[in-house]
């Protein structure tokens, strides 16, 4: 991991040193890391991080709830599936900016408008993950559940949901990515004065053509993404260990 990072930085520095592009267009790692270091020294950065993370987590939590309910309903109720199944992916492909007018219409310039965009971005992914999991539940387990007398909700809770967990988890991961990207866009929609956020910082850096700042913010986003992925990865590993899906052979 660390060697990979060092390698990337070295190549990057070499490209910059080669003078391929002027420094203000493609700044070197030194400039970027200095900028990043400055940011990390300012309390404002942590405020922004806090605001963005709070929104991300709230939005994601709502999306998980919505995704679960919608996914559960759509995956098991045939008419709903016929009516809504493909719509979910349709919604997923809708870019965030298309929702902005509606978001403002419903929620004015409040944080709810941001959350609206985030939820619309993430919930379809989560629902789709659940639906895929449900669809690939091994029939023999469904039969076993049926024989045990589990029906409808009980069957869902005790058999289908746990069987769908791996796929649901990967849906959650994708959902997080959607939520985050939507949030980065949404934070430009409602800029609450004097409340900095990562999305705004990203846009500001771009707006001001502040290349080191942009790259520093990208690094921040990347690191957050990596940390979140590690959490999901840990959950996933725990799941696989418990289910006996350890794959070492020979």
């Amino acid at each position: 991991m660390i060697s990979a990072i060092v390698l990337v930085l070295a190549i990057w520095e070499l490209v910059v040193l080669s003078g391929w592009r002027p420094e203000y267009v493609l700044p070197g790692p030194v400039a970027v890391l200095a900028d990043l270091w400055n940011r990390l020294g300012e309390p404002e950065f942590y405020e922004a991080l806090g605001v963005t993370m709070r929104r991300a987590i709230t939005g994601f939590a709502i999306a998980v709830l919505v995704g679960l309910v919608v996914g559960a309903a759509v995956s098991r109720v045939r008419p709903l599936r016929a009516a809504l199944g493909s719509l979910i992916t349709g919604l997923q492909t809708m870019p965030s900016i298309a929702w902005f007018p509606l978001a403002i219409l419903f929620f004015k310039l409040s944080e709810s408008a941001i959350l609206f965009v985030v939820v619309l971005g993430a919930a379809p992914s989560i629902a789709n993950g659940l639906i895929a999991g449900v669809d690939y539940t091994p029939p023999i387990l469904l039969r076993a559940g049926h024989i045990l007398g589990l029906r409808r909700l009980a069957l869902y809770r005790h058999v289908i949901l746990p069987a769908s967990l791996p796929s649901f988890l990967s849906g959650l991961k994708q959902g997080w990515a959607f939520a985050w990207r939507s949030l980065m866009a949404g934070e430009l929609l409602v800029i609450i004065a004097h409340q900095a956020s990562i999305g705004e910082q990203l846009d500001n850096a771009r707006e001001l053509s502040d290349s080191p700042g942009l790259l520093a913010t990208m690094i921040v986003i990347l690191v957050i993404g990596i940390v979140v992925d590690m959490c999901f990865g840990a959950a996933d590993n725990a799941l696989r260990r418990r289910w006996g899906l350890d794959q070492r052979v020979g």
Partner: protein, 327 residues
């Protein structure tokens, strides 16, 4: 509904005025007014000012349409669009804010209009004032262009930030852009001014920022609108009388809003190129719309009634300044 925006038109007491603007040098009137507390002072203690910032016109228009703000500083194009799309129901322009500060910046080797042939020139957005101005100007000079980047001069609408980059890397040969981007192109990428847009207009004046309000708000709370305009006028007066203090205020506010002040050299140069005026320069708005129609970027639109300068003129009269015209 937080804060009591009155959509119903009743006489509910408004205790909040919601004002929008962009963290941008052409919106210095707002930046200074907020930073120096002119708005807060004018509105008094029983009315609070709630400011929202936007990164572009559409969001501000959506907010005004959705009754999420009451007034905002905005450029001429979004104002025309808001007027046209709402068939004259949504907004009114109640004051001008800034004029000038738009340039055609090109690579040093380009010296004349003829040299532009075969080159790529950027504008901020298809159909916006600068885009229209460039197309109209080229049309006047007999140079063909089209809205899809073809023709003798290839016009590439792209965001100003991207223009900075593509100009630096040589992907484009010039750009018709407002401040502070013009100054940055010149200072950072050795661009040079081929044309000052002001030269194309009567009195070298054309609007780039003005203040619009929601019509319903204007109807319900003319008193509040008046207080806003008073602060607006005071802010512009401050900028004119104390440019150094104004610049300081602008950068302080920008630092608070975006985390980064503008480089002093860019700020100086940009400030020098922009005139902050209460006059909305109505003729340029109408003229620009007319040009847009001529280059095929706008359906005919009736701008009659887009201005409501009565309050502004009252305020100006009270300060014994000359009235402005909506023609």
């Amino acid at each position: 509904g937080g804060g009591g925006g009155s959509s119903g038109g009743d006489t509910a007491k408004t205790t909040e005025v919601r004002l929008g603007f962009f963290p941008n040098i052409t919106h210095s009137t707002a930046l200074v007014g907020v930073q120096k507390g002119f708005f807060a002072k004018a509105l008094g203690s029983d009315t609070t000012l709630k400011v929202s910032t936007f990164n572009a016109g559409p969001a501000a228009t959506e907010a005004i349409f959705s009754d999420a703000i009451d007034a905002t500083y905005i450029g001429p194009n979004p104002a025309i669009n808001a007027w046209a799309k709402s068939k004259g129901e949504a907004i009114k322009i109640v004051a001008g804010a800034a004029s000038g500060g738009v340039f055609l910046v090109v690579k040093p080797e380009i010296n004349s209009v003829e040299d532009l042939k075969g080159k790529k020139i950027a504008t901020p957005q298809l159909g916006n004032t600068q885009d229209v101005a460039l197309r109209y100007w080229l049309q006047e000079k007999g140079i063909k262009t089209d809205t899809k980047g073809g023709g003798e001069v290839s016009i590439l609408p792209q965001e100003n930030a991207q223009t900075l980059q593509t100009f630096a890397t040589g992907d484009i040969d010039g750009a018709w852009v407002p401040e502070p981007f013009a100054s940055r192109l010149i200072q950072e990428s050795k661009g040079k001014i081929l044309l000052t847009e002001a030269d194309l207009w009567p009195n070298k004046q054309f609007v780039i920022t003005h203040l619009i309000v929601r019509q319903q708000f204007l109807k319900d709370h003319p008193d509040l609108v008046k207080k806003l305009i008073e602060a607006h006028v005071e802010s512009n007066a401050f900028i004119q009388s104390d440019p150094a203090g104004a610049k300081e205020a602008v950068n302080a506010e920008l630092k608070e809003l975006t985390g980064k002040p503008v480089a002093p050299a860019v700020l100086d140069s940009a400030f020098g190129n922009i005139t902050f005026t209460n006059d909305p320069i109505a003729s340029s708005l109408v003229g620009s719309a007319d040009h847009a129609q001529k280059v095929g970027l706008l359906d005919p639109v009736d701008l009659n009634g887009i201005y409501d300068l009565k309050i502004l003129n009252e305020v100006l009269a009270a300060k014994s300044q000359p009235a402005v015209s909506d023609k």
